[in-house]
Symmetry: C2
Subunit: 282 residues, 2 copies
């Protein structure tokens, strides 16, 4: 039986930050939801921009990278790890849960729960990176939650580069979205999971394309709700009187996309730290 951390060192644990990571900048959509819902919490965010993207890489590489970045967050004193990256959540979560001594929360389970709650006709579409789609992580979780729900899945490797180019509302982006979504819309989905933390930046153009009949679901808000409930269950929430902050570190300083995200998400990025990856020898 594990003893909740807060019973051992209550005052110390509560002041520690929530560690959040993503392969790059996209996970700031989750950080923004956490800031909004849990303004008293400090957040330490690491974007692995030196090795972004994870979405086309293999399971073993994604698992190793996720462990390395989680180790860097623990070195910052993280009381919990939020895997704000669908690809890492799909492929590395079991290994992180096995090896880390703090709670680990991914974005697949919250996204799947939101989709199952939203669908009325029992047919859900999922769009994500190639690695996430190949993992079938969403199908697996949705099947466990509600075995009768049918899932149509589509890898969309061009959406992240389009978002990072800043072409958020653009005829090219519309054309690419049509190419990726036409089949699943024709098959009759009534709910679409944005299975990559970048995709909420395309919410407007995706919504215009699929129309009001299809509900768009992302993990950010549901993930923040889950974080809140785990913090409370473990008794490690920050004091209500604390004013939380968001610190951001990247493994590569290139920041072309950082300003796109800052503007689109309406969050204050402030000064960004640079951190070298601490590599685990495979």
């Amino acid at each position: 039986m594990s003893i909740p951390l807060a019973e051992v060192f209550p005052s110390v644990v509560n002041r520690r930050p929530i560690g959040v990571f993503d392969s790059g900048i996209g996970g700031l959509t989750v950080a923004a939801a956490l800031r909004e819902m849990l303004p008293a919490e400090d957040i330490f965010y690491i974007g692995d921009t030196a090795r972004v993207p994870y979405g086309g890489k293999s399971a073993s590489t994604i698992e190793r990278y996720s462990l390395e970045i989680s180790g860097m967050l623990l070195a910052e004193g993280a009381k919990m790890i939020v895997v704000a990256c669908n690809t890492a959540s799909a492929l590395a979560l079991p290994r992180l849960e096995e090896l880390l001594r703090v709670p680990v929360i991914g974005v697949i389970q919250p996204g799947a729960e939101a989709a199952v709650a939203a669908t009325r006709n029992g047919h859900v579409g999922v769009i994500a990176t190639r690695a996430t789609i190949q993992s079938k992580a969403y199908e697996r979780v949705i099947q466990l939650l509600s075995p009768e729900v049918r899932v149509s899945a589509q890898a969309c490797p061009l959406l992240v580069p389009l978002i990072e180019e800043g072409w958020l509302e653009d005829p090219v982006t519309e054309l690419v979205i049509g190419r990726y979504l036409d089949a699943m819309v024709a098959e009759g989905i009534d709910t679409l999971v944005l299975g990559c933390t970048h995709y909420p930046l395309l919410r407007k153009v995706l919504g215009d394309y699929v129309g009001h009949e299809i509900a768009l679901v992302d993990s950010a808000r549901n993930c923040a709700l889950k974080v809140d409930s785990v913090l409370k269950a473990e008794g490690i929430s920050a004091s209500d009187t604390h004013v939380g902050s968001l610190r951001i570190a990247l493994t590569d300083p290139s920041s072309a996309f950082l300003r796109v995200a800052e503007e689109a998400l309406g969050i204050h990025v402030g000064e960004v730290q640079l951190r070298a990856v601490q590599m685990i020898n495979p």
Copy 2:
């Protein structure tokens, strides 16, 4: 004064492979040109697919990655390093030349020479990754070769993802090409440098777009000519009677794009090895 390697260990050096690297698979366009022009040479190719792409990352990260991969090629006995990646050639060549004890050949110089030879009106366009364009490496080399040549440059970060998706002849790709090239075509370039080793895979659609008036130039053939002349100058060419081979190693096994490249380049990829990156602590 340095003594040519071949005078010290002639028979041993000549049997060593040419080491070729790229951030990913695109450098196989250079490997294919080397195979065609130098069929007696063994080639050992490493694609750093665990960290691809380099093109949006910072100079310091690109330099470190290039040193690490070059070190892996030297461990394979490489008698020469060919940097078959425009981004690494633009940002890391001086440091590689300083630190490595074998000849190092990049793709910028050969591409710039081809452009200066091809232009008739003295106005050259360059398309490449964001990092290559920001480095102004092509402008610098072209100015040294021929100060009166004017250069128009455009970063095209979406072209590599489009190629890796396999959309080589596609309305989306045509639309994106138009977006990137319209301005420089209107300005009157008569030569276009394909400043990324992936881009020759778009030669047909780029040629259709710019028309016959504009010459397309890539580094692959000129780079192979340069390799041949350095091998001869150093006296380290393989014996004419040897039948050369191409061995390929990747730092991540994901291979969605490998089959696209194999088909488009008409080269035999064969069995692909997997290598862990040997990291240099920054």
